[in-house]
Symmetry: C2
Subunit: 212 residues, 2 copies
């Protein structure tokens, strides 16, 4: 049975799950979420799809999961891919996934939303500057970690890489310039050179009308 | 050998790990972090303790772990406590831990810092209001989930509970009033009635000088 992923192109959290599905070679299809029309915030979505009101949500037969890292872990159990070689690597992967959810993707996703998908007159300047500063600290941590390393954990791409890259391939401006972070830049190139890698908008349908 | 937890009282992320250690009945001791003097932001801490520059860090023999949810998972493997009854419960626990790190504790911790541990003239009003609004959405999700449930996952306290409560027992004001969220309020009471439960400042030494 084909795996379904409730998602939309602009969601970097969805991208993490979509990229894991695609790079593992699984058969899957996106179920489009009309995010900018409020679908995830509606009662029907909370009742029938995800009480957290978030994307992505994976449906595989009777299994329904949300949170991209939980989805990635489930797919690793299914395929043996991207989950690390042993318990220590698995814990290290999880450690970077939690760091990402707290310090990197959560902030980058919010900032990109505020800077691109809100009307200009509604963009909160102080929040934008504050979040940019927090993200600079996060980029510093990741760039320092990647010095002398090909991948975030171990000797091969893992869910740690497929998580931390979540927002970093998007074209919309949110204060992230790859050229300023040479180790992150080289790592993103290494990852996008992998077999079956695709960019977010090549994997999932876009929800932002202005993109039509 | 006694387990060590690098931590400080004001850190709700540290509290999640300390509470799991204490409620599982493990022998452990806190290693004090002088947070407000910048210890976690210094080069020595990043080099010797945690490259992410964060608390808590657990040291158990040769094992060194950061990220409270990873620490909790490790302790569950060690003790059989709080990790859920099966793979489905374990995934559901992890799902709430990720949700918490993205939407609840990360925001509550930052907001409490801004409202209490920054000098009044440096408190960013727009960021504070913005974060309060985001947290209201998170409290709504948790309160709705707890309607008719004793615990976040399954029929017993789990790491999901020990995670989501991370900042909710602190006395400092950050816009959270238990009385406004009846299901959260009842759940916090249920949890604090459990054997071996302790409040954050009874488990870990405080770092905030004004508290002396």
């Amino acid at each position: 049975m084909t795996i379904k992923l409730h998602c939309f192109g602009e969601s970097g959290h969805s991208y993490k799950a979509a990229l894991a599905l695609e790079m593992a070679g699984l058969e899957w299809k996106p179920v489009f979420i009309d995010f900018f029309e409020g679908e995830t915030r509606g009662d029907a979505y909370r009742r029938d799809v995800n009480e957290m009101g978030e994307a992505p949500v994976l449906v595989d037969g009777d299994t329904r999961l949300s949170q991209s890292a939980v989805i990635q872990g489930y797919l690793s159990e299914k395929t043996g891919r991207f989950g690390g070689r042993d318990a220590a690597e698995a814990r290290e992967i999880l450690r970077w996934q939690f760091w990402d959810n707290h310090k990197l993707s959560s902030q980058a996703g919010m900032l990109r939303f505020l800077m691109n998908f809100l009307p200009e007159e509604k963009r909160p300047a102080e929040v934008i500057d504050f979040t940019k500063n927090r993200l600079t600290a996060a980029y510093n941590v990741l760039d320092a970690h990647l010095a002398g390393r090909d991948w975030i954990v171990g000797e091969a791409p893992s869910n740690a890489d497929l998580t931390c890259c979540g927002y970093l391939y998007y074209p919309e401006p949110f204060g992230f310039d790859r050229a300023e972070w040479p180790n992150i830049d080289a790592w993103l190139t290494r990852l996008s050179d992998q077999p079956r890698w695709k960019s977010p908008y090549d994997l999932m349908p876009r929800a932002w009308r202005a993109a039509d």
